[in-house]
Amino acid sequence: MTDLTLQQNAGTPPKLVVSGLHKTYGATVALHPTDLTLRSGEFMTLLGPSGSGKTTLLMMVAGLLQADGGELSIDGHKATYAPPWERGIGMVFQNYALFPHLTVFENIAFPLRMRRMPEAEIRREVARVLEIVQLPHTAQRQPRALSGGQQQRIALARCFVFKPSFILMDEPLGALDKKLRDQLQLEIKHLHKSLGITILYVTHDQEEALTMSDRICLMNGGRIEQLGTPAELYFEPATVFAADFLGESNFLEGKVRSNSPDGLVIDAVGGAISGAGNFAAGSAVKVMVRPESVRAALKPVEGWNAVPGTVRETIFVGGVTRHYIELADGGTVVALELTDRRTQPADPGREVFATWPVSATVVLAAEKGKMP
């Protein structure tokens, strides 16, 4: 397999095209009709809370769950109801699913044996991938004799040894501790780059999704909530859910006063807020701003949005300091600033303004009954 990078993908057909795929269990809809395209060479993450439909979608792509309707095609071939063993896509399971009665060598050889590869070639290929994951000495061991991280790498090796069209990963790092998880995230990302593998990754961990993905497909309630690059999802969330799920966010309730070419003016607690977006005057909105954009200031900054409030608490969290500012309506805005030795902790009870640039203001449609 030669190196493929994102740049040369324009000509290659998509690895996976999902259109209108859906699944229902009795009265519960696990996945509403969904469209999704996985480009060749990309690292896409299905991100969402449990029950959001990400695992259902993954299982249907793997062929382990039969769709109720819709279509999916792999490498341009229709594969909606193809059995898993004919799909030629790899899958790394949450608990690795290494066969406990087979050695590491036999585990990795399994997909090659299923493809009736000659013995000599099997030996060569297994040795090759063991080199790639840097575990050549473990070939004759039993999987349970390996550490979690090593098992993870063997599971990966078993997956890409048969050169699958792309690889599915179902929360593969969920069982590991934080330090190892961070290390393996980088390793997987590195393998993705150097081997040019296309990966469809499932996780509920937003930090993991931000770290690893080229694109994130955020799912909620059996639907795709938003699809985009990590930066798009972080800076331009399309919904309150998206804003709330990725990163930390402050929300203010408001009502659009006017919509002009210069932008929106929104009535919120403590005054007018400027923003951008396509909302009719009078519609209820939510104003979102990330804590790192907010400052606690004694007077409003010229040209910035500002709401008055009272400092309730200031917490030193090492590299950053967090100010909790209570607004007139009882709501709280968090302001995050880099800690400086000279920064004096603001006295609790002090009257301040929570202020942030207009460019950092995100205006979202207020969702009914869904308070984040």
């Binding site: 793997a62 062929g63 382990l64 039969q66 071939h77 229709k78 594969a79 909606t80 109801y81 193809a82 059995p83 898993p84 063993w85 004919e86 799909r87 030629g88 896509i89 790899g90 899958m91 399971f93 949450q94 608990n95 699913a97 066969f99 406990p100 009665h101 050695t103 399994f110 997909p111 044996r113 299923m114 493809r115 004759q140 039993q142 349970r144 078993r158 997956c159 048969f162 599915l168």
Partner: protein, 599 residues
């Protein structure tokens, strides 16, 4: 020094305290089993080495091997046990697999039917097969009705009928042994196999089957051991050509009172059982019997040559079944990525339900027979009447037998609980030297063929005058029930979080208070099921009762056995039906408790 004197626990506990703390809970069970299992069995075996006048002699063994009759019986016993084991494993496997894979509610429902047939008396089920297989029985009549055969056919009194009856008796045990192993197999492994390119046949034979093998082996060994000691089925369903070794022991004891020869036969049976059990222990470890499979498959230094050959065979089987499946798919046009696949789930269900029907129906057939107006056990029942139930109520013999059974069962279950529960605590929680040995002793009533225990107890009771007494029967049954109590209580304790106890101690509760207010209330469900297991074991017990009761002191199973041997009127069917209802109620109670505990 007043401070030192008032601070209790400042010094190490005395050696005596340590000793009683460690062995106190085990002492009753060890004493009980040494006195009632090891001593009598040892005594019986030593009798087999005594000639006339009590001198050492191999006379009994010379006689055993002198005539081909006895050797022939041993060969027949082994043969029947072998075929029974094979049939049992093949029939049990799909059901066990279904139970292990199904979600909660359906799984529990299947489990109930398996448990019901597990606890349903061998006697009743054997009677059921008599009704099914005899000349005027269900199958013969049905075949005639369908004009497949011309006249009545006799399916009874042959090796196949014995094997069918024994297989039927053994399948529940085998399923219950296999299920825990299969439940330990991660479903993702089969899925992973498929995403790696394995077709269902290959995935089953290369991944699932090798992983389920410990369960298969354990089930097979237990079935084989139990089969060696069978006497009810061959007695009623076999001819003299199917006589098994335990029937010879009964004959020697009941008709000739030849203890030496009975002892020699017992030794033979015991040795066979122990050899097989040693293999079991080597393969799986004895603790798998208590559900604590800390070892699982002995993970050695990789597979030996036997393992490699096994894997090759599995690979071959996988290839063959893949070709078979794809041929079937081609014939039925069940192919292609464009349309939904039909799964094999329907066929799997049909097989499982057919096997469950095979398990349940033979016992249920006694119900319609019990309402016959005729005077023989026949199919179809002639008319409808309650005369045989009336007959039961009018018969002092049956009523007394039933009363006696209830009293004995309650007594035996209580005794087994009092002795077995502390032992379970000790084995489950304490670090004990020789733990395996202790476990082996506690489980020995399951390992030693019941017939050997029964004959040994008979001899022992005869010496101390306990034959025909309540006490003898209660104590004997308690011995048999202890392993069930220990296994059940240990299983509950395994899932019990000892931090509750630690929290209680920390809050100031003494050990006895902790036990009373925290531990016992929390494991109440398990204790009740243990009690019910013991109750049912005693209520259903025939082997010990066969020898130590008689005349006016019979129990219900003994009375049924006598009746079946002598006259076999439909009163037997009526008694079976009532017993069936009783067992069903108890099983349901146990089942309720267990499913409640899962939640």
């Amino acid at each position: 020094m007043s401070l030192a004197a008032s601070s209790r626990g400042a010094g190490r506990p005395s050696r005596l305290r340590q000793f009683t703390g460690r062995w106190g809970k085990l002492a009753p069970v060890l004493f009980f089993l040494l006195l009632l299992i090891l001593y009598p069995v040892g005594k019986l075996l030593s009798l087999s080495f005594q000639g006339p006048g009590g001198v050492f002699s191999l006379q009994a063994y010379e006689r055993l091997f002198a005539s081909s009759v006895y050797v022939q019986v041993m060969v027949v016993t082994l043969k029947i046990s072998f075929w029974t084991t094979l049939a049992t494993v093949v029939i049990s496997y799909p059901v066990a697999r279904a139970i292990a894979r199904l979600p909660g509610a359906t799984r529990n429902r299947l489990m109930f039917w398996v448990q019901l047939s597990f606890w349903c008396s061998f006697l009743i089920r054997t009677f059921g097969w008599m009704v099914l297989l005899n000349r005027n029985g269900f199958i013969s009549q049905t075949l005639q009705y369908l004009q497949i055969v011309d006249g009545p056919i006799d399916l009874l009194y042959s090796a196949p009928s014995v094997i069918v009856g024994m297989t039927h008796a053994m399948v529940p045990l085998c399923i219950l042994t296999m299920v825990p192993v299969m439940e330990g197999i991660d479903e993702n492994l089969s899925k992973a196999g498929m995403t790696l390119g394995g077709r269902p046949g290959s995935v089953f034979w290369r991944v699932y089957f090798p992983l389920s093998l410990p369960g298969v082996t354990a089930g097979a060994l237990l079935v084989f051991i139990t089969s060696l000691g069978f006497f009810i089925v061959p007695a009623f369903l076999g001819s003299r050509h199917e006589t098994m070794i335990t029937q010879l022991i009964i004959e020697q004891v009941q008709e000739y009172l030849n203890w030496g020869f009975a002892g020699a036969l017992s030794l033979l049976l015991l040795v066979a059982a122990l050899v097989i059990f040693t293999i079991y222990d080597r393969l799986l470890g004895i603790s798998t019997l208590t559900g604590s499979s800390d070892r699982g498959v002995k993970a050695g230094a990789g597979p030996g040559w036997a393992g490699l050959i096994g894997l090759k065979i599995c690979a071959g089987l996988g290839h063959v079944s893949d070709m078979l499946f794809s041929a079937i798919d081609r014939i039925f046009g069940n192919r292609g990525a464009g349309k939904p696949r039909r799964s094999g789930a329907g066929l799997e269900w049909a097989v499982v339900l057919a096997i469950l029907a095979f398990l349940i129906l033979p016992a249920l057939i006694m119900v319609p027979v019990s309402f016959t107006a005729g005077s023989r056990i026949n199919w179809p029942p002639e008319g409808f009447s309650l005369r045989w139930y009336q007959g039961l109520l009018d018969s002092p013999v049956w009523l007394q037998a039933a009363t006696r059974s209830v009293i004995v069962a309650l007594g035996a279950a209580t005794l087994a609980m009092l002795i077995g529960t502390p032992a379970a605590f000790a084995i489950a929680r304490q670090k004990l030297p020789g733990r395996t040995l202790i476990l082996a002793l506690v489980l020995s009533p399951l390992i030693i063929p019941r017939m050997v225990i029964a004959v040994a107890l008979f001899y022992f009771y005869a010496q101390i005058g306990l034959v025909g007494s309540y006490a003898g029967l209660i104590v004997g049954h308690a011995v048999l029930a202890i392993p069930y109590v220990v296994i059940t209580v240990m299983a509950v304790l395994k899932s019990y979080d000892t931090r509750y106890d630690q929290a209680a101690w920390n809050l100031g509760a003494r050990p006895t208070q902790t036990l009373r207010f925290i531990t016992l209330p929390l494991i109440k469900g398990g204790l009740i099921s243990a009690f019910l297991f013991a109750l049912i074991t005693s209520f259903d017990e025939l082997t010990i009762a066969l020898f130590v009761t008689g005349g006016l002191t019979t129990t219900l199973p003994k009375q049924m056995w006598d009746d079946a041997i002598n006259v076999a009127t439909p009163i037997l069917a009526a008694a079976s039906t009532l017993l069936l209802v009783f067992v069903a109620v108890i099983t349901l109670l146990i089942h309720r408790l267990q499913t409640k505990e899962q939640k």
